[in-house]
């Protein structure tokens, strides 16, 4: 562990402030709670919100996993994992099932999460309505009045124009039948996993200074219409490494225009390879 810094970098008072925001967020599922976001030694937009939530949540006996794009070995995930290893000395793992706390960017692990686990999402833009109304003074009122006409019109226009919803990631959800929430830029493929997940889901947006949460076993509904229900379109490929056809796949461009597909969740891929071996 590195000298000269507190456990998990932040001082205890800052961590307590963040925990209070988390508690409030858990109490009002899907509602964005402002918090005194600190300046972290990682660039804004690179996971400072997730890092602060993780820092506030981590205890000595936690086992930490960090993924970016589903993989533990992407550079930013490596960097964040090393950061917490240096500042806390907690055990780290690449195995989804062994982790007590998983910080993620852009994916939900394929392996179902269980009670007691915490999934921390890095969120670039917590305001689900910002593309439709950039003024946060206004979106605050829209949320308060549960006025989600703007986003419904947007979905309707997509259907009218394209015949389908033109949002493939960061697909808005309604939490506990109340707040419309950004699930962070996970592919809409992952949205169904949020619904009644046994694990606690926490969302940290550092630059935008907001924390929100989905408590365990909470309803999370992707926005849709009765006659155009939300659905996930299959990719239609199998993983070239493990043969899985149900996981989310990365597209890998080979020479001469050839393409391969492999599991985006590298730990899941490892598991599948071990099962079939």
């Amino acid at each position: 562990m590195i000298d000269g810094y507190n456990f998990a970098y932040l001082d205890e008072r800052s961590k307590r402030m963040i925990r209070r925001a988390i508690l409030k967020a858990v109490a009002i599922p899907g509602h964005q709670v402002p918090f005194g976001s600190r300046e972290m030694p990682l660039a804004y937009g690179w996971g400072t919100g997730g890092i602060q939530v993780t820092a506030a949540m981590l205890g000595q006996h936690d086992v930490l996993k960090v993924i970016d794009q589903g993989s533990d070995d992407t550079t930013n995930a490596v960097n964040i994992r090393q950061f917490f290893a240096r500042t806390t000395g907690v055990a780290t793992t690449e195995r989804t099932r062994e982790a007590t706390l998983i910080q993620t960017r852009h994916r939900i692990p394929e392996a179902p999460l269980r009670e007691g686990q915490v999934l921390v999402y890095q969120v670039p833009q917590p305001e689900a309505l910002y593309k439709l109304e950039p003024r946060r003074t206004e979106t605050l009122k829209l949320h308060a009045c549960e006025e989600y006409g703007l986003v419904n019109v947007k979905l309707y226009e997509d259907l009218a124009h394209w015949g389908r919803v033109e949002t493939t990631y960061d697909y808005p959800v309604q939490v506990n039948g109340r707040y419309v929430m950004s699930p962070s830029p996970i592919p809409s493929f992952d949205n169904p996993k949020m619904h009644r997940m046994p694990a606690l889901q926490l969302f940290g947006a550092g630059r935008e200074k907001r924390i929100y949460a989905v408590p365990p076993y909470t309803d999370v509904k992707s926005l849709d219409f009765e006659d155009h229900p939300f659905h996930v379109e299959p990719q239609g490929h199998a993983c070239a490494l493990c043969g899985c056809t149900t996981s989310y796949l990365d597209e890998v461009v080979q020479g001469a225009g050839e393409r391969l597909w492999t599991c985006s969740d590298t730990d899941w891929c490892r598991e599948q390879q071990e099962v079939s071996a």
């Binding site: 402002p34 794009q69 993989s71 852009h106 003024r135 830029p185 990719q235 796949l249 597209e251 985006s264």
Partner: protein, 361 residues
């Protein structure tokens, strides 16, 4: 078949080594000392302190050395360090009228109490490259400072040029808000818009100099015209005082250099208020006139609601000017686009292929 799914950890390690080498440059050239940066690149050190909102010339110079002179990177380093510092106390407000003034100019009166003091400025240098600086004259440090310079360098205190106008009631008084509430701390409290002026000024004081300059300049080009005059622009050292609980009276704990600009702006009076000049205010750590002046233009533009002015330009909109002006936030988020987006991009690819398939049917 080869797919690069591993290697991130090794790549990061190698990148750090390469960065250290790039920072050092040609090893045949003598290494830069932090003290040299602090003393000889003082304006850059000042900018880093101002935008990091931490007054520490030594660490700002260190950050610049570590960041290879990249101001925003150095600001980032210093801000990240700042986060870890405890809040010991809150000082008394600084009094810029009691500044040990090294420079003060006023554009509104030819002469005025305290006079005009040009001080060190690039304004009249004619901007010719001084090729004599190419060669280092002296490598050994000078033993003793040569004492007082031949020119009179500073004044003990100087009344503000706006005071005479204030005495006549020609300019709005500079008064604390009703009830004098403690200002919010923008580094601790999440911003909730609309922000009070006390919070706006904090955000502007550490906003990116280039952004504030461009925004201020926009007001001069007709985007929310504010009719400014450079009322009082000063640079010098001010005392920082603290009232310890045990003592109950103020104790001076040190000095900081600041640059202050009070801009004078006009507005037509109303049926109830006689015509009066209004103010725009700018204050930054160190010597940063460009920033302080631009800040005062933007501050005034952001007061549109106070004076019932029509909001016609982005510079009058808090939510446009303030969050976007934070260069650490902006730099991080713009540059996060180089992080992997395989997953989201793949989902877009899927959609566009599907849409094209349907369109070509």
């Amino acid at each position: 078949m080869y797919i690069a799914v591993k290697g991130g950890e090794a790549a990061i390690g190698a990148s750090r080594v390469l960065l250290a080498e790039a920072r050092r440059g040609d090893p045949a050239v003598r290494e830069l000392e932090v003290a040299q940066i602090r003393e000889q690149l003082g304006l850059l050190v000042d900018r880093v302190m101002a935008e990091a909102s931490l007054y520490d010339p030594e660490l700002a110079a260190l950050a610049l050395k570590q960041a290879r002179g990249d101001a925003v990177e150095a600001i980032f380093l210093l801000r990240a360090y700042r986060t870890t510092l405890p809040r010991v106390a809150t000082t008394e407000p600084i009094d810029t009228a009691q500044m040990r003034v090294r420079r003060r100019v006023s554009a509104i009166f030819k002469d005025l109490p305290g006079g005009q003091l040009l001080g060190p400025t690039y304004d009249y240098t004619q901007r010719l490259l001084d090729f004599s600086l190419l060669t280092t004259v002296r490598t050994e440090p000078v033993e003793v400072r040569t004492g007082e310079s031949s020119v009179r360098t500073e004044r003990a205190s100087m009344p503000n040029a706006l005071d005479t106008l204030a005495d006549e009631g020609l300019i709005e008084p500079s008064l604390p808000s009703v009830g004098d509430p403690p200002p919010p701390d923008i580094t601790r409290d999440p911003p909730v818009y609309p922000l009070p002026r006390t919070a706006r000024l904090q955000m502007l004081a550490r906003a990116d100099e280039g952004w504030v300059l461009g925004m201020g300049y926009a007001t001069q080009r007709g985007y929310a015209y504010t009719h400014p005059f450079g009322g009082d622009i000063r640079f010098g050292a001010v005392a920082v005082e603290l009232v310890p609980d045990e003592l109950g009276f103020a104790v001076e704990i040190g000095e900081i250099d600041v640059t202050e600009c009070q801009m004078i702006n006009q507005f037509g009076g109303s049926a109830t208020v006689a015509p009066q000049f209004t103010r725009g205010y700018g204050l930054v750590y160190g010597h940063g006139e460009r920033k302080a002046m631009a800040m005062s233009l933007v501050d005034r533009a952001l007061r549109a609601d106070e004076f019932d002015e029509e909001v016609t330009a982005p510079v009058q909109q808090q939510e446009f000017v303030l969050p976007q002006g934070d260069n650490i936030e902006a730099s991080g988020f713009v540059q996060h686009l180089k992080l992997p987006h395989y997953v989201t991009f793949e989902s877009e690819l899927q959609l566009i292929r599907k849409l094209r398939e349907e369109a070509l049917k």
